[in-house]
Subunit: 505 residues, 2 copies
C-alpha cells in the first residue's frame, strides 16, 4: 500500500512508522510488527506503531529521528509492506530458552540494537535473558567484537597504548584523574574514555568536565594522546561501541546490569580506544556491583580470559567498594580533591589507589618491576601534576589550574555526630542519594564531603558530612534525605559492657 | 518545580509526562523515573519521558490519554516532584531472582498494570520473569483474584451459571457457537465472553460478529443471558479483568505467552462473568500452545486446583490441536460452517467437539449422567439452532439467519494436489498465515477452506484448500504464501517399497 509521510512533533530514538488503526488492520499489522518502507529506490525496515488519533488513513507518521535517519520529508510517498521481525528477536528467544548464542547471532543482535531497529521491549528481553540465563565467556567475547565493529575506533600507529577502567558504582572513585597523568608521564599512551554518571553523583567524565572539555571525537582523542600522552574524555560522543549506551538506557529502567554486560561494556570501550594493556578496577562491597570477593575473583578471571581472546592484556584489581574513595562526592568537590592530592595537600586512599592502578600498568608493560614504587616516584617528582595540567590544557582547560580555584556549591549544611564511637559502616547508596538530591551531577558544585571514614573515631558534635548545593531548595531536600537515611553507623568503641552483677549471675 | 501543561498530538496508553532535557536534569530525572504531579488539590504519579525537541523548559507535555485520564488541559499549571518507582517494579525484580510473589505483591503489580502506571519495559520484565522463573498455583490464584478485583463483574442473582473457554491457538476452533446454545437450551445460563484474534485468522468474537453485535457491556451481557439463556460477546469492552489485554499486547511483541498467564487470562474472565462451572478446552499439538499430552495434563491439573481455590468448578478437555477444527478458517467461512452444522448439512469433528464440551457442563451441573448423549439429543431436536438464532437476535442480528446467507470473499483460488497419497500432517501455522495474508480477520470474508483433513485420501488434482479474499492483491499475496509454505504433507499410502533385490541382499 502507498502512504503519504507525515512528520510528527516528537522524537523517539527508534526507526518506526505510525499507521492509522484501519490501515494497520488492512495490512494485518499489530504494534511491534515490522514493515518494509520503500521510496525512490531506497528502503528500510521500521517498527509499526498504531494511532487511534492524529494519523489519517493513507498517512504514515514518522518522528523526527526516523525522518532524519531515513531522509524522509512531509508528503513523500512511500510503499509499505509487512516484513518479518528482525532475526535477532528469534535469537533472544533462544537464549530465553537456555541456549547459547552463535557468534553470528550475537553480532546480529548488537547490529540491530546499534541501528535502532529493536524496540525497548525487545532490548528488555535481551537484558533479562542474559541476566537470568547468563552468557559464557566466548559469547561475551563475540558481543564485545560486535560492539566494537559497528562503532568508531582509535588507531595508534606507534607507542604502547594502555588504559584503565572501573566497573563503577563507587562514590568518589576518581583515581583516573591521578593515575592517567602518572602513566602518561612515564611515556605510555593512555586515551582514557570515561562515563558520565547515570545513577551516581558523578562519573569520571563529569568530574573532568569541571576542569576541561570532555566532548571529544576519536580524531581529537588520538591527536591529544599523541601530543601529551593522555586524555580523559566522555565515551558517548566518540561513537565507540554505540550499542552500549542504548543497552544501558534500558538497563537503568530495569534496575539491572547483568555481569556479562558490565564486562562487555568496559572491554568494548577499551578495545575501541586502541588499548593493548588494560587495568580494571572491581570495587567489592555489599552495595557495590560485585557483592563479595569470591564473585569478584570469578569476574576478574572471566575478564582476563575474554581479554586474552581479544588480544587485550587485562589485569584486574579487587578494591574496597564498601565506602567512598577519598572524601569528596560530586563533580567539583571531586575535582578539587584530586587537585589537592596532586598538590600534595592531602594523602590517603585516593592517592594509594591511583598509584596502585598506575603501578599495575607499569608492571604489565615491563616499565617497572615494582609498579607502585615507580608510580610513587613519578608522583613525588611533581610530574603527575605537571602532566595533568598539560592534559587539561590540551582539552581546552586552564593549564595553571589549582585546587583552590575550583568553585563548589555555596549553600552548605553540616551534619554532626550525636554520639561518641567509631564509624562502623558507611552507606554508599545513602551518600549517593544525598549528593544527587543536592543537585549532582547536573549542578557541578553540588555533592557531599565525608569528614569521617570507616574506623575513624567520632566525638559528640564532630562533623560527619557536609552537603554542598547550588540551590537552596535542593539543599533542603538533601538535608531531608540525610536526616532520613542513616549514612553513618557509629558504634561505641567498647563493643559491650558487662556489669559486675552480670558476671556473677 | 512548577510546569505548564502542553498537550501533545499523540496517544500512548500510559500515564506519562514529557519534560525538557534541562528540566529533567534539574530534577535529577531519567527516562523511566516517576514523578508526582499535583494541581488543584489532586495528584497522580506519572512516568517521565525526556524530549530534546518540542518541549521547552517550564513545560510538561502530556499525550491525549494522560490528559483525559488525569483531566489536564493546556496551560494548566502543575507542581512536579520526583517520586519513587512503583513498588511493583521491586516485586518483579524479586521474581527475577527466583522468589515467590506474596499475595499483596501480585495484587500491587496487577493494579499498576491495570491503571497504566507500568512502562512496557516493566511489563516485559513481569512477563519474562514469570515465563522463566515460573509461578506456583497460589501465585496464579492471587493473580486471578487481583485481575478480577480491578475489573467489572457480572453478578447473577439466580440460575446455574456455566461457561466454556479454549486456551486458543487452533484455527477454526469455533465449538462455542454450537455448544453455547446447546447448553442454554437446557436451561443453564452461559454468559460467554470471547477474544478477537490477535495472531490467528479469527477469534470466537470475530466469527460471532459476522452474525451479531459482540460489543456488549456487562449489563447487556447479564440482561441477554437472563432473557435467552446465553450470549457470545467480545471480552474487551466488558471491562472484565482489564489487565489481561495490556499484558497480552506486550506478550505479542515478545512472542511469548507464559503458561501461568494463559491460566490467569482464561480463569479471570470466567470468574468475572459470574460462572461457577467452567469447561476448558486445551488443544494439544506440536504447534499448539500446549505441546504434548504430559504438559497438557499438568496444565489441566493446575487449572482445576486453582479453580477449586477460587470456588470455581473447572473441568478440562485435552483436544486435538494438530489440525484445524472443522474445515473453515476465517470469520465468515467459520460462521457459515457452524450454521451448516446446526442446519444438519455437515457433520464431523466440529459437531463432535461442540457436543463433547456441552456434555461436560451437563455432567458437572448434574443435568445428565451421559452429557454427550444429552447434548446430542438437544442438538438433534433442533433446539440448538433455535436457541442460537434467539441469541443472535438478542444481540441485534437476524433471527432467521441461514448458512447460505453468509457472504464470503468472492476472490478465490484453489490449490490442488500434485501427487497421490493421504494427508499425513497439516501445518496449522501455515494455514493461519495464508488466511491472515488473505485478509482475515479484518476482511470478514477472507480465509481458507480445507478440503482434505488428516488421514483423508488424496488423488492427483483433488482440491486441497481454497483461499477466499475480498481484495485481489491480498489473494495474490496469500497464494504466494500458500505456494511457499507446504501446509499439507502428503504421503504415499504405501509407507515404503522394498524391491525383491533388497529382500535378498
Amino acid at each position: 500500500m502507498k502512504f503519504r509521510i507525515k512528520t510528527l512533533p516528537l522524537r523517539t530514538e527508534r526507526i518506526a512508522v505510525v499507521l492509522s488503526q484501519d490501515d494497520a488492520a488492512e495490512l494485518g499489522l499489530l504494534p511491534g510488527d515490522r514493515v518494509k518502507v520503500s521510496y525512490d529506490g531506497k528502503s528500510f525496515v521500521a517498527e509499526v506503531e498504531i494511532s487511534q488519533e492524529f494519523i489519517s488513513s493513507g498517512e504514515a507518521g514518522v518522528c523526527t529521528f526516523t525522518a532524519e535517519t531515513c531522509s524522509l520529508s512531509e508528503e513523500c510517498v512511500v510503499e509499505i509492506v509487512p516484513f518479518a521481525r528482525p532475526k535477532s528477536v528469534e535469537y533472544i528467544r533462544k537464549k530465553l530458552n537456555g541456549a547459547k548464542y552463535e557468534r553470528e547471532e550475537i553480532k546480529d543482535i548488537i547490529g540491530s540494537i546499534s541501528s535502532d531497529v529493536l524496540s525497548d521491549i525487545e532490548i528488555s528481553a535481551f537484558i533479562l535473558a542474559n541476566e537470568i540465563v547468563g552468557m559464557q565467556n566466548d559469547e561475551i567475547q563475540w558481543m564485545i567484537e560486535a560492539m566494537v565493529e559497528v562503532g568508531e575506533r582509535v588507531v595508534f600507529e606507534r607507542g604502547t597504548v594502555v588504559d584503565m577502567h572501573s566497573i563503577g558504582g563507587l562514590p568518589g572513585n576518581r583515581f583516573s584523574l591521578i593515575a592517567v597523568p602518572t602513566v602518561a608521564a612515564a611515556g605510555l599512551l593512555i586515551p582514557k574514555t570515561a562515563s558520565r554518571a547515570i545513577t551516581t553523583a558523578s562519573g569520571t567524565a563529569d568530574t573532568m568536565e569541571v576542569l576541561a572539555n570532555v566532548n571529544l571525537s576519536v580524531d581529537e582523542i588520538k591527536e591529544i594522546t599523541e601530543e601529551v600522552g593522555g586524555v580523559i574524555a566522555w565515551n558517548a560522543p566518540t561513537g565507540i561501541a554505540p550499542a552500549d549506551e542504548k543497552i544501558i538506557r534500558v538497563e537503568y529502567q530495569l534496575e539491572l546490569s547483568p555481569k556479562p554486560h558490565l564486562m562487555a561494556s568496559v572491554l568494548s570501550k577499551k578495545l575501541g580506544s586502541g588499548a593493548r594493556f588494560v587495568a580494571i578496577d572491581i570495587p567489592v562491597g555489599k552495595k557495590a556491583k560485585v557483592e563479595n570477593v569470591d564473585v569478584g575473583r570469578g569476574f576478574a578471571n572471566a575478564m582476563m580470559e575474554i581479554g586474552r581472546n581479544l588480544n587485550l592484556k587485562v589485569a584486574t584489581a579487587l578494591t574496597d567498594g564498601s565506602q567512598p574513595l577519598g572524601r569528596a562526592i560530586g563533580p567539583a568537590l571531586e575535582a578539587r580533591e584530586v587537585l589537592e592530592v596532586m598538590e600534595r595537600k592531602v594523602e590517603g586512599d585516593l592517592l594509594e589507589k591511583s598509584l596502585g592502578i598506575a603501578g599495575i600498568l607499569f608492571e604489565m608493560t615491563g616499565i617497572a618491576t615494582n609498579g607502585y614504587q615507580h608510580a610513587r616516584k613519578i608522583f613525588e617528582s611533581g610530574k603527575t601534576l605537571e602532566k595533568f595540567r598539560e592534559i587539561v590544557a590540551a582539552q581546552g582547560g586552564d593549564e595553571s589550574v589549582k585546587a583552590e580555584d575550583v568553585a563548589v556549591g555555596d549553600k552548605t549544611y553540616t551534619l554532626h555526630a550525636a554520639k561518641e564511637g567509631y564509624v562502623r559502616e558507611i552507606d554508599i547508596a545513602a551518600l549517593n542519594e544525598i549528593a544527587r538530591t543536592a543537585g549532582a551531577p547536573k549542578d557541578k558544585g553540588a555533592g557531599v564531603y565525608v569528614h569521617k571514614k570507616r574506623g575513624e573515631v567520632v566525638k559528640v558534635g564532630d562533623p560527619l558530612l557536609t552537603i554542598y548545593a547550588e540551590k537552596e531548595w535542593k539543599l533542603d531536600n538533601a538535608i531531608e534525605v540525610a536526616n532520613t537515611k542513616q549514612a553513618f553507623e557509629i558504634s561505641g568503641v567498647i563493643i559491650e559492657r558487662y556489669t559486675m552483677g552480670r558476671w556473677w549471675s
